[in-house]
Symmetry: C2
């Protein structure tokens, strides 16, 4: 079972180097989520671990995602984009030199998810927002998958953790996971 | 001695609520640094603690600060700004309702520091970058202080931690701190 440490790290290079050691060596994670706000050198120590994955926050699942991620930015090429589209473009075309990048895009925003998919090619997208946060998983799968029907890691946390408060927790949690898996697979292209 | 937990948190509201409890109740910090990328609801649980401080990352001290924080953004009022200026404006005019916000601005970039000061009024600015990162503390004090010569929290970490490897560490570290303090005070307006 691959482990993604959803730590949303974001710090200057010297600290990032130790956060990468923490995530990959101490905790043995296969991938980690990282905040892009501090720029390339803050992400580099994670990117350098070519056998591990780095999921950059792009368009997050929460209501406040609009506040900063949706501002219109004008890049050097005089192209206007939303900030999250600029992040998707930067990760896909500059930071993914080792082919170990992915993006975090909330399943709660299927329109933005489709736009990120259009920019990011076949980059893996991690989709929080399903379950307690209320995203429509069918819509997210339809709009977020690659042309061959893959490329998504759909994340549900609290809905699984709260499946039962009783002795049947393991069975109840397993049933919720299986139901979600079946719903996803039924709607893949 | 006030304690600022430089944890650079940034996560959705439910997680941020627990990060605020961790910072302020478990660790007893007086203030915490927070990444603004996720937007207002991800910062709200920290802001709600009206007796504690919240320092939002604005223009960080590292080389990669340019990558995202310097992109030109066009806001609703058709004003063009850099992203870090937009963050400074947002924090000063929207997120600081309880008067408990500050900004993190690298002392390594005195020009940008002066711009943030012009936008942020008398907001406290936390200045990393002095010491190992090589910032000119005199220039930072000249350009970052408020009109009454205050408003800065100058941070030096590794230069103090590495003051000595021997038994005289406590004295050596204290001497470095005192020298930095005196240099700061000598150049306050």
């Amino acid at each position: 079972v691959p482990v993604i440490l959803d730590a949303k790290r974001g710090d200057i290079g010297s600290t990032a180097t130790n956060y990468a050691i923490e995530a990959f060596d101490r905790y043995g994670a296969d991938a980690v989520t990282v905040n892009p706000y501090l720029g390339h050198d803050a992400v580099q120590p994670f990117l350098d671990r070519v056998d591990r994955g780095v999921f950059l926050l792009c368009r997050t699942s929460n209501p406040g995602a609009r506040d900063l991620q949706d501002v219109t930015v004008r890049t050097g090429e005089q192209i206007e984009r939303r900030l999250y589209e600029h992040v998707a473009h930067t990760v896909a075309h500059a930071w993914n030199a080792h082919g170990n990048c992915g993006l975090v895009v909330g399943a709660t925003y299927p329109g933005e998810l489709a736009e990120v998919r259009a920019i990011a090619g076949d980059l893996p997208l991690r989709l929080p927002g399903v379950g307690i946060q209320g995203a429509d998983v069918v819509e997210a799968v339809r709009r977020g998958t690659t042309s061959d029907g893959t490329g998504l890691i759909v994340s549900s946390s609290r809905a699984i953790l709260t499946a039962s408060r009783r002795h049947d927790f393991a069975q109840a949690a397993r049933a919720r996971v299986a139901a979600l898996r079946d719903e996803i697979n039924a709607h893949r292209r």
